[in-house]
Symmetry: C2
Subunit: 411 residues, 2 copies
Amino acid sequence: MKTADPELMRAINRYHVIDAIRRDGPIARVEIAARTELSPASVSAITAQLIEEGLVDVHHVGSGGDGARGRPRVLLGLNPKAYHVVGVKLTPFRIGIAVTDATGASLASLVLPVRVARQAPDVVADLVEDGVRRCVADAGLRMDAISGVGVGLPGVIDGVSGISHWSPVLGPNPVRFAEAIAARLGVPALLENDANLVALAEHWFGLGRDLSSFAVVTVENTIGLGLIVDGKVYRGAHGIAPALGHTKGEAAGRPCRCGQRGCLDAYASDWGLLRQAEEAGLLTQGDDAPQRVDDLALRARDGEEAVAALFREAGAAVGLAIANLVNLLNPPRVILTGEGLRAGKLLSEPLLEAVAANVLPSLRDGTEIMFHGWGDDMWARGAATIVLRRIYEAPWNATDWNRPGLEEASA
Amino acid sequence: MKTADPELMRAINRYHVIDAIRRDGPIARVEIAARTELSPASVSAITAQLIEEGLVDVHHVGSGGDGARGRPRVLLGLNPKAYHVVGVKLTPFRIGIAVTDATGASLASLVLPVRVARQAPDVVADLVEDGVRRCVADAGLRMDAISGVGVGLPGVIDGVSGISHWSPVLGPNPVRFAEAIAARLGVPALLENDANLVALAEHWFGLGRDLSSFAVVTVENTIGLGLIVDGKVYRGAHGIAPALGHTKGEAAGRPCRCGQRGCLDAYASDWGLLRQAEEAGLLTQGDDAPQRVDDLALRARDGEEAVAALFREAGAAVGLAIANLVNLLNPPRVILTGEGLRAGKLLSEPLLEAVAANVLPSLRDGTEIMFHGWGDDMWARGAATIVLRRIYEAPWNATDWNRPGLEEASA
């Protein structure tokens, strides 16, 4: 928080007005004044400015159908056309893309069923460029109407400098992927670990809207954790998202693709499930295609006991990790999502049992566990949210070390 | 962050001036202006007010001994006498008390070598009252000169409402201990988990002064974790500190006093070490007196292999827990402290090896591990810091849900 001056004060108040309109619009000026505790005169001045800038739209609601008072009311809402942004979700097996307006509503979307992981990062960047250009055209827009591109992917991602340090999509070496995308498309780009992406999107328009702190656990090719603390995504010393998948139960456990042992990923991620099934002779050696895990889940549900046991153990491992997370951080809510939940109760029941058995009794009531299915569309829309959040960011966060300006990220 | 008005703006700027004086005082006005980016006129007005209120002292530094320029300079420092506070550190085996001035300097201190854990909470509160009254008198002060009492203790402590949910000192049932102390002494009281206490003190005057986020791990009768995130102590849904000692490696591990299994505390806390030594026939059954662990540490250093193995395993267990913490939260620094480190290299070497082996390579360079010995005096002074921090708190944190006013905590 820097020293206050009238300029910052205006920025803070402007932020609060926009935030009220974004959250609750269309909304009347008097209601904005009530929520922000600003004077009606301040609200009028700020909203007049926002309307002039085209950020806010005026809605006239007649005295007609919706009854009550006789006079028509003037409500203010975000102008959907004020900004357009692009979200990209990368997995080892496909590229999902969405173009959204300023409210996060999807205008066009696209899925490229490409085995991204076997391509070099430059080729992946080319494919993303082509897909984004196509999708922007599908939305009836030109690239210069796009305010930014948010890219989400699994792995050890530095969301501050836009570098992928390790990812099942971009490989084990550092890749300046935000830079590569920004250069190709000529617009600012932001890179984000996909668990952070879900956390940001849940906070913006999903199951975390009512909370300023919560956790998201993504069970996919890898197991991720996104933490919102005091309304901001938590980042460590490197700007990197928490690596829940590489926390370890026993130091001498199963080998993991990270080169270490006993990692949660080795037991419960899609990657870990497939390797265990292969080792147990339940599956021939192969790649990490989600279809292969889908098939395993079907076999488990059809009663194949050895396969079902793998899912149960995976559920228990994720449950123990969540219990440790609750014991450590006691977030009011943990939201679980990801393809890895495809096995349904087979996985979720032992998961919830392990949570109940391992969370300290005095902490048990404080954390709610929720499951939230995310489709491809939702992922890409979530990625777009990274950019929207930055656009509508609170001014007292703007100079935060872990949140560079868009210009910086695309430099 | 609430809506800004001129009053908040003044409070923010006042905070920045006090903070600059507290951190770097005695300091010249021109230097304050440079650090806060406030205009010289604003700094003059604010400091004049602070001097008038008695919060800030004027130091005239002559052109004599310290050479350089010819003109005497006017430097500003915190007035040590502006506030007096009391810190209390409770362990199962003693009560440490310190009275400090506004700068955190100790004016008087006292250790009561009492086996607190076998007394009822009311008796403990009585003992704390007697000790505090004695220590305040020793400092040449009256109780009405005391701005607040900070109490630190191990366990599951709700620092927001001042309740001990579970503690080796106050037992397994909820105790409104802050209230009990405030009622007896007639001054506001704050309760805090002792790992949070160390974290706050390290941030205020110790090894965390240069960072806005870091972690503290305390190895004592129980193993605790204090997290500073963005300059504030991290609290979960219940206002409770992280329970690192009850995170679990294997769900089917050793039984813990919390009723669950596999907890870190069961392996590496003083409590866990003593129980393991007793079970292995290395020690007769007894209590948790620190002296008993000191004796074990001596035997280990003298070459008794079975005892040394216990410390090595404890070190490896703490190291794995810290590695998981780094993988999860990647704090730029982890500060280790507590009596449990008495075994020295016997514990710290396997600890650091386990950290190195289990932190993801890409995260390894981002976290510095430091050891910091804390004496009884330091603990009590740390407890006093809880109150001082509250007094000098930033106005934009003041309405935070997890930081009630002193009045509230003592209500």
